[in-house]
Each structure stands twice: as structure tokens, then as C-alpha cells.
């Protein structure tokens, strides 16, 4: 019976991690698809989202506990956490704004990508400077952290929330891309930036919008992910790594690819760690190499 228990738990963990990875990777792939810029500061924005979310949520919770204890009790820490997530979105959006303004001065995909590397290093070091090197997590609100029984096994409610959030994000992005005016323009821009400009659309503003959207989503994922996975210096590189693996497996620029890639990476990571311990990384690397060797554009990517 313990093996059944372990299997279900590993499966659930893999799904949860995959769900988080999908949210992380969707911003990454959206920006790449439109602008052909690989945002290497993506992991750093995730980390910053975690830190900002942590500071905002703990500060608000403390203030609330001191001034209106009854409300704080009733909300079960929900206010602080929610504000933390919002603050993370703002922080991520702001960094994206700065990055886009910088990138406008640089020509060529490669130089633009290198610029994001410089920003990644700067943000990573600034975070270390401000928040120090200790691992941190945000406190989940009581309302969404009660254990839920799944297939007879109690599972942390917050992790189910993460899965739900990822599904909502996916649906939201789908509606945005395929059912809205902005989405039509974004998809047209992915096909042919020049012609989008030539029919009177300000491509610079479009890039800014998408960049900020991607940055805010990444910041949010930092706060939401940082509520169940501890973050610390180095998390930025780890997150960039898995995000890249997800989009390389799934295909750059494809939302469907991101979701499939995220599930594959999440499950391999979870089962690898549970059943193969230190060799798990070979499982993941091997998958990436296999995909790259036989399908350079990823499972759902367009040939470049």
C-alpha cells in the first residue's frame, strides 16, 4: 500500500509542478513568439516576484494583525497573501517595462537576448543584496491550504489551487490570443511584424503590452510558486532552466506546446526524484536531448 500511496503522491506532485511550470513558461514563450527575444531574465523576474510577494504579504499581514486583528483572523492571512501576489505582478510588470525600454535601443535578436542576460545577473544580485541568502516561502492563506482527500490520500489544498490557477491561466491566455482583438494582433505580429506595422499598428506599443503582460504573469508565478516551493539565490537560474526545457520540448512560441512540455517536465522531475534519486537529471536531460535530436523545433513548434 505505501507504494500506491507514493505513486499517487508523486503523480500529484508532478501535476502540481507541471501546472506551475506552465504558468512560468507561458509568459516566456509568449514574449519569444512575438519578439524573438529569449528573455534570460525570466528566472530573475520569478525570483523577484517571490521576494516582493513575500515582503508585501508579511508586511500587510503584520500591519493587519496589529491594527484590525479581528479581520486578520477572519481572512486567515488571505489579505496579505493576495496583496503579495498583486505586488509581485506589479514588480514583474515594472521590470518588463524597463527591459522593453532598454531593448528598443538594441538591434538584432542575439544582442537583445544578451541584454536580458545582463539584466538577469543584475536582478539576481540585487535580490541577494536586499533579501539575503536564506530560503523563503510565502504563507498560504488558510482558506486554500486545507488538505483535500484525493483517491483516499490527503493532499495539500494549496497545491490543488496551483493546478486550478494554471488551468485558469491557460484558459485566459487562450481567450486572449484566439478570441480578442489584442490576440489577433499578437498572432499577426508573430507571423509578420513588418506588415502589422504597415497596417497602422504601433508595434512598439504592442511589444510593450506583451512584455508587461509576460512580466506580470511571471511575477505572479513567483509569488504563487514561492508559496509552496522555497526560493533563494540560484532559484532564478533553476527556473530559467526548467522554463527553457519546457519550451524547448513543447516548441517555442506555442501555448499548447508549453502546456504539454510543462506536464512532461513536471512528471519526469517528480517521478525521477521519487524513483531514481540523483539520476533524475539524466532522465530530464535525456528527454530534452532526444527531442532536440529528432525534432529541433520541439513537439508543437513551427519549423524555423
Amino acid at each position: 500500500m505505501p507504494s500506491y500511496f507514493q505513486f499517487v503522491l508523486t503523480l500529484m506532485n508532478g501535476l502540481t509542478y507541471g501546472a506551475l511550470l506552465f504558468v512560468i513558461a507561458s509568459g516566456f514563450t509568449l514574449v519569444f513568439g512575438l519578439m524573438r527575444v529569449l528573455n534570460l531574465s525570466h528566472g530573475a523576474i520569478y525570483l523577484l516576484g517571490g521576494y516582493v510577494g513575500y515582503t508585501a504579504s508579511t508586511t500587510v499581514s503584520q500591519l493587519l494583525a496589529r491594527s484590525v486583528p479581528a479581520l486578520h483572523q477572519a481572512a486567515g492571512g488571505g489579505f496579505g497573501w493576495l496583496l503579495g501576489v498583486l505586488a509581485a505582478a506589479v514588480a514583474g510588470g515594472l521590470v518588463a517595462l524597463v527591459l522593453q525600454r532598454l531593448i528598443r535601443n538594441v538591434h538584432g535578436d542575439l544582442a537583445q537576448t544578451l541584454l536580458t542576460l545582463g539584466l538577469a545577473i543584475t536582478i539576481g544580485d540585487l535580490c541577494l543584496w536586499i533579501w539575503g541568502g536564506l530560503p523563503l516561502t510565502l504563507d498560504a492563506p488558510d482558506a486554500i491550504s486545507q488538505p483535500v482527500r484525493i483517491a483516499g490520500i490527503p493532499y495539500p489544498g494549496y497545491r490543488l489551487f496551483v493546478i486550478g490557477f494554471a488551468v485558469l491561466t491557460g484558459v485566459g491566455l487562450y481567450l486572449l490570443l484566439f478570441r480578442s482583438q489584442l490576440g489577433r494582433i499578437i498572432r499577426a505580429g508573430v507571423d509578420n511584424r513588418e506588415m502589422v506595422a504597415a497596417v497602422g499598428i504601433n508595434i512598439d506599443r504592442l511589444f510593450l503590452t506583451v512584455f508587461i503582460l509576460g512580466g506580470a504573469l511571471t511575477g505572479v508565478s513567483g509569488a504563487i510558486g514561492g508559496t509552496y516551493l522555497a526560493f533563494q539565490p540560484g532559484t532564478d537560474f533553476d527556473i530559467l532552466t526548467v522554463a527553457l526545457f519546457v519550451v524547448v520540448i513543447g516548441g517555442l512560441g506555442s501555448l499548447l506546446g508549453s502546456s504539454v512540455g510543462a506536464l512532461i517536465v513536471g512528471l519526469i522531475d517528480s517521478f525521477g526524484r521519487a524513483y531514481f534519486s540523483e539520476l533524475a537529471i539524466f532522465l530530464l536531460s535525456g528527454t530534452v536531448i532526444l527531442v532536440l535530436a529528432f525534432r529541433t523545433q520541439g513537439l508543437f513548434g513551427r519549423a524555423n
Binding site: 494582433i185 508573430v190 507571423d191 506588415m195 506595422a197 497596417v199 508595434i203
Partner: protein
């Protein structure tokens, strides 16, 4: 005479060290102005330079009296220049309807009602039949209709068309000529870039011959059509095979 719709003055464009446009000047006051010339003579570069898609190294471009030299493409489009590029450049990820939906109502026409989605469908009924089809799956002629419809929805006062007949079978070129003629008769000013002598002479009111980045001559279509020797001198080709 009405105000200049388009004025290009002594335009120079370089690609690296190649001097592609070597001082082109032209004015467009309405009707259909044709630019005729062989491949590689700088016709497409001229269109792209007007649209702001390639940097201009010297000279000026103005639309309706307002300078647009080296303005970003979307500003040029908002000044009322519609662009039907060479190769059509439709968006393969969008359906026909999405192409038109994306642009309808974005830019108001200067006076009058302006183009609507339905107006484009009325002009090209074929597009209405194919409205749910992904643009990447359209035939060349259908793509050309879509590219024209897309440009019309920006409510241009001047339409630049770069080789609309390229790669189309003669049986498709003929109705296209009729459509362009009808468009011109409705008052749309067109700058028509062509290699196809038949199309250019059938649609244009006046023809400019471009060679090696310069305007070589200005002729009436009728004159060129009837004079094989002139065709040969200016273009190195004749209509008779």
C-alpha cells in the same frame, strides 16, 4: 490641380554599400500612377522606403503635404497610405475573417463612410465564402484579394500595390485588373508597381519607367502599348512574345 497625394523628392536609399535608389522624384495627384521596370531596379525598395520599412538616406517623402520621411510604418499607414506588399504577406495564423476583423474600424476615413468589413466582402465575394479558412490555405489569387482588403480597411487615401499580378495565372489577373480599375474609378488613388506590362498599361493613367534606381521616363500607357520599339528601349521586353 488637387493637392499632392504623394510627393517623393530626390530619394536615396542604400543597402550597405549598394546605392539602390539614386535620387527618385515623383508626384502623385490622383488616379493610378504606374511604376514599371525590370526586376532589381528598386521599385520595391521605393515602396518600402515610402512605408518607412527601410531607412531613407537622403531626400524627402510627403503624403498630403505632410512629411513622413523615415517615420515608423504605422505612422505612415495612419497618414493614409495603404500597402499591398510584394508577395502579399498575409498572416498565415489568422483566418480570413480575423484579418479583416483586426483592422475594421481602427482608422476612420477622412470624410465619407470609409471601408467596412462588409464592404470588402462585397468587393470580393470569394473572401466571404472563405471567411473561416486560415489565410495560409488560400490560393494566390485569394491571398491577393485578402491583402487588398486588408489595406482598404485602413481607409487609405493612397494605395501602394507592389506587383499584385506576381505569380498569378492570366485567368486570375484579368478579373484583378477589372477590380483595380473599378477601385480607381471609385476615386481611390493608386501607386501601382508592376513588371507585368499588360496589367500596368490596362490599369494605370500614367506610367513611370524605373531603371537602376532612377526614373527613366514618363509615358502614357496607350503610347507604350502601341509602340513595340519604345517597349524594347525602355524595358527590354515587348508585349508580343
Amino acid at each position: 490641380m488637387s493637392a499632392e497625394l504623394l510627393a517623393v523628392d530626390d530619394l536615396h536609399v542604400y543597402y550597405g554599400s549598394a546605392h539602390v535608389l539614386q535620387g527618385i522624384s515623383l508626384t502623385h495627384r490622383g488616379g493610378v500612377l504606374g511604376l514599371l521596370g525590370r526586376n532589381g531596379m528598386g521599385k520595391t525598395t521605393l515602396a518600402r522606403a515610402i512605408m518607412g520599412l527601410v531607412p531613407v538616406n537622403g531626400g524627402t517623402v510627403s503624403v498630403g503635404g505632410r512629411a513622413i520621411t523615415n517615420r515608423p510604418p504605422h505612422r505612415v499607414a495612419l497618414e493614409g497610405v495603404g500597402y499591398v506588399p510584394q508577395g502579399r504577406e498575409i498572416f498565415p495564423s489568422l483566418s480570413v475573417h480575423e484579418h479583416l476583423q483586426m483592422l475594421s474600424g481602427r482608422r476612420k476615413a477622412r470624410g465619407g463612410d470609409g471601408w467596412t468589413l462588409q464592404g470588402v466582402y462585397d468587393m470580393f465575394p470569394r473572401l466571404r465564402e472563405r471567411h473561416n479558412v486560415s489565410a495560409g490555405h488560400l490560393s494566390g489569387g485569394e491571398q491577393q484579394m485578402l491583402a487588398i482588403g486588408r489595406a482598404l480597411l485602413t481607409n487609405p487615401s493612397l494605395l501602394i500595390m507592389d506587383e499584385p499580378s506576381e505569380g498569378l495565372a492570366p485567368v486570375i489577373v484579368d478579373p484583378l485588373i477589372d477590380k483595380l480599375r473599378a477601385l480607381a474609378d471609385s476615386g481611390m488613388a493608386i501607386l501601382l508597381i508592376e513588371q507585368n506590362l499588360r496589367m500596368a498599361t490596362a490599369v494605370a493613367d500614367q506610367l513611370l519607367i524605373v531603371s537602376s534606381g532612377r526614373i527613366e521616363a514618363s509615358v502614357a500607357p496607350k503610347e507604350l502599348e502601341d509602340d513595340d520599339q519604345l517597349q524594347h528601349d525602355l524595358l527590354g521586353v515587348t508585349m508580343k512574345a
